[in-house]
């Protein structure tokens, strides 16, 4: 950590275990405490139970409407910094009907729902660390 950087409790929500774990390690090395959740429901429960300074969440996860989840967090915690992340590309819409929605559309929706920052996977390690610091400093 460089001088002036703040330490924070960060909740990371991602359905991909490898992504969750590596993000935890990246944030831990940046000096933060990290709690992990594997889906939206677990994330909301942990947020309600333990709270967090920053939420980093995937926006496309099986069984979770990421955009609605961001909206719920924003309603419950109006000042909570939220960073949404998503793998670039496109995915079938939530109801699995034919067609595909690009992840940029999801990220845009999440921003409207209240996300403060968006990151498209694969992003650089520093990009996440900087985003967290910027939000903590605001």
């Amino acid at each position: 950590m460089s001088k002036g950087d703040q330490m924070a409790n960060i909740l990371v929500i991602d359905d991909e275990k490898d992504v969750r774990v590596v993000l935890k390690e990246v944030l831990r090395r940046a000096g933060h405490d990290v709690t992990l959740a594997a889906n939206g429901r677990e994330g909301l429960e942990k947020l309600a139970a333990d709270g967090a300074d920053v939420v980093v969440t995937d926006v496309i996860m099986p069984g979770t409407n990421g955009v609605a989840m961001v909206q719920q967090i924003r309603e419950a915690h109006p000042d909570m910094p939220i960073i949404v992340i998503s793998g670039g590309g496109n995915v079938a819409p939530m109801d699995y009907e034919p067609g595909a929605i690009s992840t940029s559309a999801y990220l845009a929706s999440a921003t409207i729902a209240g996300a403060n920052r968006t990151l498209t996977k694969p992003f650089e390690r520093q990009a996440l660390v900087d985003a967290v610091q910027e939000l903590l400093a605001e």
Binding site: E16, D18, V19, V21, V22, L23, E25, V26, R29, I60, G87, G88, G89, N90, V91, A92, A100, S102, T103, S104, T120, K121, P122, F123, E124, R125
Partner: protein, 481 residues
């Protein structure tokens, strides 16, 4: 019945019947009148000649006894056609004694055949000799000639009826001949409308209208085949883009931990560790994979964050040309003709530069040894309605046209059909990614443009990228569809 009369053949037959229904009675009446006049003239001439001969005979016999005169008149009666003969000589009235008809009492002179309606033609002839004079009254039988005339009338009716039958049969046959190619065309059009485009439209009819109609329909069919092929091609690329986007999404989820773990591991390793070099190679490969994933997304024009902005187009292309000159070997004959100010285009400069680089790289890969070159041009062009009709992504209006031509190997139709598919490549395995032209396609689509491609095996390939020009006032110059 009403429905049947809507067909061309039934209408033709009906029209011909109506025309004949008016014309044939007129023809019948005219013919009858002419024939009747001729027969009457002939009858009267004949009667006058016969009467004159009788009168001449009697002239020499006027001084003879009454019985001799009666014998003369009787012989005339026996000669046929004359039904009575009376000679007025002074106060005497000498009449034939044979075949006397009681109702013939009038000596009126007839002026026409058939006058008085009594089947008799009256004729009076003066007999004047040097010493004497008399008047001969004759009656000629009109019934035989009348009978002949009725027979002729019946013949005319029979001829007209026969003619009418022949006309009807001929019309049915003619209309069938005329409508046969039309019916065939109708069936063929229905086949095409049902989605079978392969049936060629042709006719053996030598009627100009049908020949022209067939040619027009055949031209429409060929256009339909082309448009359909283009549509299928676009749909295939669309679905490939969607598929590729889905793959890229999963791929990025894998790449994320791969990149970060490698980065973290490198941080943990002492600088002199023998593992560092390999870890750095892994990181470089992961970054290359990241680049590939981004190219796939460009093809599907997915996840583009940068907004398109109006800017002068020539400098954007010129910058790309500088890059390409640095990349291409100095031996390559690289010719550039760029109009300095083609105008404003709504574009993403990074993507346009990538497009130019990819096209030039593609041209370079196609070059063979010998007298070959790459030619890059940039100019503006008006797209007319005709060109727009042939290319669904073009609209009538002003465009900039970026041309990249090479005199290399060229491509066959099968290759052209597939060149925009991701990972399709004609290069040896390992030489190219097969993404270059897929990316070009994605960029052009995102910029609302069109690619026109001509290529000939052994002669070379020319790409023309049409991108819509923006007017100086900032309004798009293209017709809205």
């Amino acid at each position: 019945m009403a429905k049947r009369l809507t067909t061309l053949s039934s209408r033709l037959v009906l029209i011909v019947l109506l025309i004949h229904a008016v014309l044939l009675p007129v023809l019948f009446l005219a013919l009858s009148a002419v024939v009747k006049q001729n027969m009457a003239d002939s009858f009267i001439d004949h009667a006058r000649v016969q009467g004159r001969l009788l009168a001449d005979g009697l002239e020499l016999e006027l001084d003879k006894s009454q019985s001799i005169l009666v014998a003369h008149l009787d012989s005339a009666i026996l000669g046929g056609r004359i039904v009575y003969a009376t000679l007025q000589h002074g106060d005497d009235e000498i009449t034939n004694s044979l075949m006397v008809s009681s109702d013939l009492t009038l000596f009126n002179e007839d002026f026409e055949f058939g006058e008085h309606g009594d089947q008799t033609y009256y004729l009076s002839l003066p007999i004047i000799s040097a010493t004497d004079m008399a008047m001969l009254h004759l009656g000629f039988d009109e019934s035989l000639t009348q009978g002949d005339f009725e027979n002729v009338q019946r013949s005319i009716v029979l001829i007209i009826v026969a003619y009418l039958l022949i006309v009807i049969v001929a019309m049915i046959s003619l209309s069938a001949t005329m409508t046969r190619p039309l019916n065939w065309l109708q069936r063929a059009s229905r086949t095409i409308a049902s989605g079978e485009y392969d049936r060629k439209l042709e006719t053996d009819s030598n009627l100009l209208e049908i020949h022209n109609l067939t040619q027009d329909l055949e031209r429409m069919r060929r256009n339909l085949v082309k448009v359909n092929a283009r549509l299928r091609h676009a749909q295939r690329l669309e679905s490939l883009g969607t598929l590729a986007g889905g793959v890229a999404h999963e791929f990025n989820n894998v790449l994320q931990p791969l990149l970060l773990y490698t980065d973290l591991a490198l941080e943990d390793l002492p600088d002199d560790s023998p593992v560092v070099e390999n870890m750095e190679r892994i990181l470089a490969l992961a970054n290359r994979a990241k680049g590939l994933s981004q190219q796939i997304l460009t093809f599907g024009h997915i996840d583009e964050d940068a907004a398109l902005e109006e800017q002068p187009f020539s400098p954007v292309v010129e910058e790309a040309i500088i890059m390409i000159r640095a990349l291409l070997p100095a031996t390559v004959d690289f010719r550039v003709e760029i109009s300095a100010q083609v105008g404003l285009v709504r574009c993403d400069p990074t993507q346009i530069q990538q497009l130019v680089v990819n096209l030039c790289n593609n041209a370079y890969q196609a070059l063979t040894t010998g007298d070959t070159h790459i030619n890059v041009t940039l100019s503006r062009r008006s797209v007319d309605a005709d060109l727009a009709a042939r290319h669904p992504n073009l609209r009538a209006g002003e465009y900039v046209v970026l041309g990249v031509a090479d005199t290399g190997r060229g491509m066959d139709a099968e290759t052209i059909e597939r060149i925009y598919e991701p990972f399709f490549t004609t290069q040896t395995v390992g030489e190219g990614t097969g993404l270059g032209l897929s990316v070009v396609h994605g960029i052009v689509r995102r910029h609302d443009g069109e690619i026109l491609l001509t290529s000939e095996v052994g002669k070379g390939t020319q790409f023309q990228i049409y991108l819509p020009l923006v007017s100086s006032a900032g309004h798009n110059k293209h017709e809205q569809r």
